[in-house]
């Protein structure tokens, strides 16, 4: 029978349940997986139910709707990942292959777990242990936010992405808030200038109707003096407002840039695997500016224009309500046009943004790699490629330009029509009934009308900058709202790190279409020097990436000194690991600062000692500027071996409990390798060390070897044990020994 609390990824359809209930009369499934494709790859449903000794597939592709296979009759069961979906396949003891269930990659992890369960139980492992691993996978599957689909820190936890998340306006408000005082002050100044701007047309009507016809020069001078005073107030306050506005605007953009950069530092490696650096740079530089301009438009100009519009309507209504209503006739058309324009221009701005990113990506690819471009004489090709992208951008920008140029002119035309109507109707009224509407009032009314259309035009055109800002905001939000690395064990540090490392049932894939690590289990004891060997792409570096917590969304657990690494403060944890990469990364700074990068504020003697241990002091002291030598971008000016020794010096200075060398000597000559190897030998004493290596010479110090192949640990033990095993390691050593022998013979010949 089917237990009520059956471990299942989602509810099965009634048809599947009906068949399952019929099938499990005498035994009980331990877990089930409901798939989302039919065997012919049409969207539909299939399922597998797994008991302790058989697996049952249910679906429309089987005769009778199901297929049952005892573990004993199974030769092999595995998940075959294809380009667009995957299949759970079984090979029977008789040699025939059966597709049990087809599914999208959403189900890939649990189907892997199901296949592992059957394989391992059949091999004799305990059902309870294997079921625990399956439960872990199901738990992981439930750790997704039902709202946004992002992975949760722990099952049923609140989603950081969806927590208190507002719309664009709310996001903008967050950045505006620190400058609220300044902006409110600017709004106050705006009101003053707006009121001042409304005075001159009224004064005009006074001049035309009363002052000039009266012939009083004294009154004329007084009115003009008043007018000058109004202008002084208007423009003086305008200047003050502009200054404060700039200060606030710069503050907003600075905060935005800082936050995006800071956020970018804490984003997981997965984000950078999928996002080009050009795109990130574009967001920090261009998009923040677009957003800042829009925020200022909204908080300042929009407010000013709104006040202006209200003020003018009140004044116009007081002057002549009939003409006021007449002047409002073009407004609905302007609003409709504006909506249409917004819809039209929005997508165009999104396309322009994409083209802009493409240009930035080429720049960030080719400018740093200018040596490669030159070495392949690819300057012309690079120029052509860049030109093509710029032309693409130009094409899209022209399209947007056309729309953006036509629309404001249509608005202006409509506004002009409004003024013409007022001239026509008002002119007739002045001629026919001068007692009801004087010439001065008409002139003043026309001035107010044209002033009134400014805010209308502003709000009509706002959709243009709104759409532009929306496109930029979307991109900025991608970073600001991206899920950061989770520091589950914040503030949880260990007294000392002894260096015991354990991988327990670890599975990992960068994306679900390809599994990179498969059920990895091993224990490394404190002080062990472990060589990790395997072919390129076998998963060696991924093991290190997981240990470094560059990727946290793996299945299974990794322990340091019997503590799950996810439960340790991330900053503290990484500070306890010295990591030397194959391609050492240097910053555009002095050699001293590059070494001291690992321990900011390190004493000069500590840095000198670290450089000495790393065999770097000798070459540094021979440089004209010694430790003050300024390195170019990514360490330009130093050889690969020199950079590597600086990177080892960094690790020495850090004094970590665990050391990791990721093919640290693979790209240097034998002499430099010896220097680096000497440095490494001095550094590793008494520390747990993991060394990814191809060269035999690097592995000589190792007391344990891990052999990785296609994501599996195929051999693990002491070098002697593995040699006796005569497996992959044995073969590798033989090949290496032979090639070293040949190389030595050749070197001897050349020497002779």
């Amino acid at each position: 029978m089917i237990p009520k609390n059956l471990l299942i990824n989602k509810p099965a359809s009634p048809e599947i349940i009906r068949i399952a209930e019929k099938l499990f009369k005498n035994d009980e499934p331990l877990f089930a997986v409901v798939g989302d494709l039919e065997l012919d790859s049409r969207y539909g449903e299939g399922a597998v139910y797994v008991t302790k000794d058989r697996i049952v597939a249910i679906g429309s592709g089987f005769d009778g709707g199901f297929f049952s296979l005892d573990f004993a009759d199974t030769d092999k069961i595995s998940v075959k990942r294809m380009y667009g979906n995957a299949v759970l396949k079984a090979v029977t003891a008789g040699g025939s292959t059966i597709d049990l269930m087809r599914f999208t990659f959403a189900m890939a992890d649990i189907c892997d777990a199901a296949a592992d369960f059957v394989t391992k139980v059949k091999e004799g492992e305990s059902v309870e242990d294997r079921l625990a691993a399956v439960e872990g996978t199901f738990k992981n599957l439930r750790s997704f936010c039902p709202k946004c689909g992002r992975k949760l820190p722990s099952p049923n936890a609140d989603c950081l992405n969806c927590q208190g998340k507002g719309k664009i306006a709310a996001t903008m408000l967050r950045y505006i808030k620190p400058y609220a005082g300044k902006l409110v002050f600017c709004i106050f100044l705006s009101i003053v200038t707006t009121v001042a701007a409304l005075v001159p047309p009224y004064v005009t009507s006074l001049m035309v109707d009363s002052v000039i016809p009266s012939g009083s020069k004294k009154m004329l001078v007084a009115v003009i003096a008043f007018l000058v005073l109004v202008y002084v107030v208007q423009y003086g306050i305008g200047a003050l407002r502009a200054y404060h506005l700039r200060i606030a605007g710069d503050g907003i953009i600075a905060d935005l840039k800082k936050e995006i950069y800071a956020k970018a530092q804490y984003l997981p490696m997965k984000f950078y695997d999928k996002t080009s650096t050009g795109s990130v740079i574009n967001r920090v530089n261009s998009d923040t500016t677009v957003l800042q301009q829009f925020m200022l438009r909204i908080t300042q100009e929009a407010v000013v224009q709104l006040f202006t519009m209200i003020g003018i309507i009140i004044i116009m209504m007081c002057m002549n309500w009939k003409l006021t209503l007449l002047s409002l006739t073009p407004v609905p058309i302007v609003v409709l046009c504006s909506r249409y324009f917004g819809k039209k221009i929005g997508p165009l701005y999104r396309r322009i943004w994409r083209r802009g990113v493409a240009i930035s990506s080429i720049l960030s690819d080719t400018i740093p790699a200018v040596r490669i471009v030159k070495s392949f004489s690819s300057e012309e090709k690079a120029v052509k490629n860049f030109s093509r992208q710029v032309d693409d951008w130009l094409y899209e920008d022209k399209k947007a330009g056309k729309v953006a140029a036509i629309f404001p002119n249509i608005i202006t035309f409509l506004i002009t029509c409004g003024s013409v109507i007022i001239w026509f109707v008002g002119g007739n009224m002045v001629i026919d009934t001068p007692d009801k509407l004087s010439l001065g009032v008409l002139v003043s009314f026309i001035s107010y009308t044209s002033m009134f259309y400014n805010p209308v035009s502003f709000f009509a055109n706002l959709s243009d900058s709104y759409q532009n800002a929306l496109a930029s905001t979307e991109k900025i939000m991608d970073i600001i709202n991206a899920e950061p690395e989770h520091d589950f064990g914040k503030d949880n540090t260990l007294d000392t790190i002894k260096g015991k490392i354990e991988f327990r049932n670890v599975n990992f894939s960068f994306d679900r279409s390809k599994k990179v690590l498969n059920d990895v289990n091993f224990v490394i004891n404190p002080g062990d020097v472990v060589g990790i060997v395997g072919t390129t792409g076998s998963g060696k570096s991924t093991l290190i990436n997981l240990l470094m917590r560059f990727y946290d969304d793996y299945e299974g657990e990794i322990f340091i000194d019997d503590v799950n690494i996810k439960d340790i403060d991330m900053g503290y944890y990484r500070s306890q690991i010295g990591y030397v990469q194959q391609e050492p990364m240097m910053f555009r700074d002095t050699i001293f600062n590059n070494i001291a990068y690992s321990v900011p504020g390190a004493h000069p003697e500590q840095v000198l000692n670290a450089a000495d241990v790393a065999n770097a002091h000798g070459f540094i002291s021979r440089l004209p500027d010694a430790y003050d030598t300024m390195l170019g971008e990514r360490g330009v000016g130093l050889s690969g071996g020199e950079k590597q020794r600086l990177s080892i010096a960094r690790a020495v200075l850090k004094n970590p409990g665990i050391l990791i060398f990721d093919e640290a000597t693979s790209a240097v000559d034998s002499e430099t390798e010896k220097l680096i190897q000497d440095a490494i030998n001095r550094l590793i004493r008494g520390r747990t060390t993991l060394m990814i290596a191809h060269r035999l010479s690097t592995l000589r110090k190792a007391n344990k070897i891990i052999v990785v192949d296609k994501g599996n640990i195929i051999e693990f033990g002491t070098p002697e044990e593995l040699m006796a095993l005569k497996g992959k390691y044995y073969k590798l050593i033989n090949i290496q020994s032979m090639s070293e022998k040949v190389a030595a013979e050749k070197a001897a010949e050349n020497f002779e």
Binding site: Y43, G84, R150, P347
Partner: protein
Amino acid sequence: MSRNFIDGNEIRITVKDKIFCDVEFFSGEKLCNLEPRRLFPVSGLSEYITFLDENGEEQFILRKLENMEPSQKELLLGCLEEYYRIPKITRLVSRSEKHRIWLWNVETDKGNYTFEIINHIQSMKMFYDKRILIKDGNDNRYEIPNIYELDKRSQKLILPDM
């Protein structure tokens, strides 16, 4: 190490298990359980097909499908079609966004389906100004062979993001 390039008329294949086949050369040599895969699954669908053995080691590369005998070509295409089976979107029924996650409800040649796209910029790529490949939040792929052959509404919803 030189690759073993061959032409379509040099081999005869027998399909074993949908995506696997046995290959017999005219010299009489026979290789079993090979898995044909495209070396250019995006840009060159009928050129440079690699044949991998059970360990994933390449045995040879078939230059072009065109030179094959029609029935043989059909068999090989069947293998490839099975491996590269991705739904072809025929209509975008609806598209909505919440918390920067886009929900697409589509009609495909494999039926109706709803999927999520985490990031429009990274998950959609246009090739040759008409073919669009889409990857959803679970790394499943979808294809629009020619965006301009979709209905106007679908085009209007998709094209601005290209």
